[in-house]
Symmetry: C2
């Protein structure tokens, strides 16, 4: 049984600019309405409706109806990951003239990948957590006792995370950095907390912007530094 047609059926869905724009608009983990997605894709409502029906039928999206509004979101983090992989490949192969504007640098620095922190900051988070012994296991990531203490102190309800079906710690390959950042339920919870503490704010699209205070706090909490005294702040 050939694998080509299976790959092609998924890839063909991504191979239309309007549909790719729709999926990209959803990469920050939010749910958007048909109208919003039509606008994001630059097509009419009816065209967007047809595209969304296809993506829904293919289980790339999940739809929820709220009154007369129909909200769509990505069906899982692996969709975002495939999109990121394709962007990385496009860049490496020259399919995109890399116009290094401020937005590109911002995306590289810190962005949302589905629901967790990605980019340089995202990779730094995972590397720092491992360096400090909060997360162990290399590939089968797991919280250490020390990590449980630190993340609990940081404001994360670990027992709630562990009750869910989603793996707590999951390495998620970051294509702008070519290393992994932290996905999974913990990755998502950390991003929520960062935003809650106003260390980070959502910016245009998937861009995340650290506040000055937030960058300091982040580095102090998750940086690869001699940890005990710098974290007294």
């Amino acid at each position: 049984m050939k694998e080509g047609p299976v790959i092609a059926s998924v890839a063909a869905l991504l191979g239309d600019p309007a549909r790719a724009n729709i999926l990209t608009a959803l990469m920050d983990g939010r749910a958007l309405t048909v109208s919003e997605l039509a606008q994001a894709a630059g097509v009419t409502l009816q065209t967007a409706s047809g595209h969304l029906a296809k993506l829904d039928a293919a289980n790339l999206l999940v739809a929820e109806k709220q009154g007369r509004h129909r909200y769509f979101r990505l069906s899982g983090p692996d969709v975002a990951q495939v999109l990121e992989a394709l962007m990385g490949l496009a860049q490496r192969t020259g399919a995109t003239r890399v116009r290094t504007g401020p937005k590109d640098a911002a995306l590289r620095s810190a962005r949302i990948c589905y629901d967790h922190l990605a980019g340089e900051r995202g990779v730094a988070l995972l590397n720092g957590a491992q360096w400090q012994g909060l997360i162990a296991g290399g590939q089968d990531l797991a919280l250490t006792d020390k990590g449980r203490a630190v993340f609990t102190e940081f404001g994360i309800d670990l027992t709630r995370l562990e009750k869910g079906r989603r793996p707590v710690c999951r390495a998620c390959l970051d294509w702008s950095e070519r290393h992994s950042h932290l996905g999974g339920a913990l990755g998502a919870a950390i991003l929520d907390r960062l935003i809650e503490k106003q260390w980070v704010r959502r910016d245009a699209g998937r861009v995340l912007t650290f506040t000055c205070q937030g960058a300091e706090g982040f580095d102090a909490t998750f940086g690869q530094v001699p940890d005990e005294d710098t974290r007294a702040a």
Copy 2:
């Protein structure tokens, strides 16, 4: 600048069954001729020629002429990785009726990803190497001193690997296992060595089959076991 069209341009290339078959046929890292690829894709020579021209122009493939033969191979491991990512997404979203035949199980057990070991065995290799302290760093993988000794003893010329441009240790996400296996120059060298020692042989397509002796030797060398006494064999 929207990312949709960039993603779509790459994805559209993968979205044709014949082209996807061509790329899949090259996923085991070999270079094949136009005729061989036409056969693998199930199209005529002239159709394959057109497809290959497109993939070549997009830098997804690299072509080499040898007399009247024209050989193509993937332009890098990230192409294989994108294909694996798409296969994983296809499976999760139900785009493939998972007919669990022996071939699927064999691919899951051990297969070639570009030029290194993937599947259960591939993940076990990386996990075991980290468990034994041969490779450190979680995400920024690096050889330890102990690892240098063990891999050298295993028959790998590390100084040659380090002279090349390719990173020695690289985590490569394994989509059948949802964890990373070991890519990079070391991953490739290990697979070469496994084949050389006849612990593994190439089988149909990308399937790798461990010999009995090879499975034992592999587990003894790279398994997550109390290492000192079992490795005396």
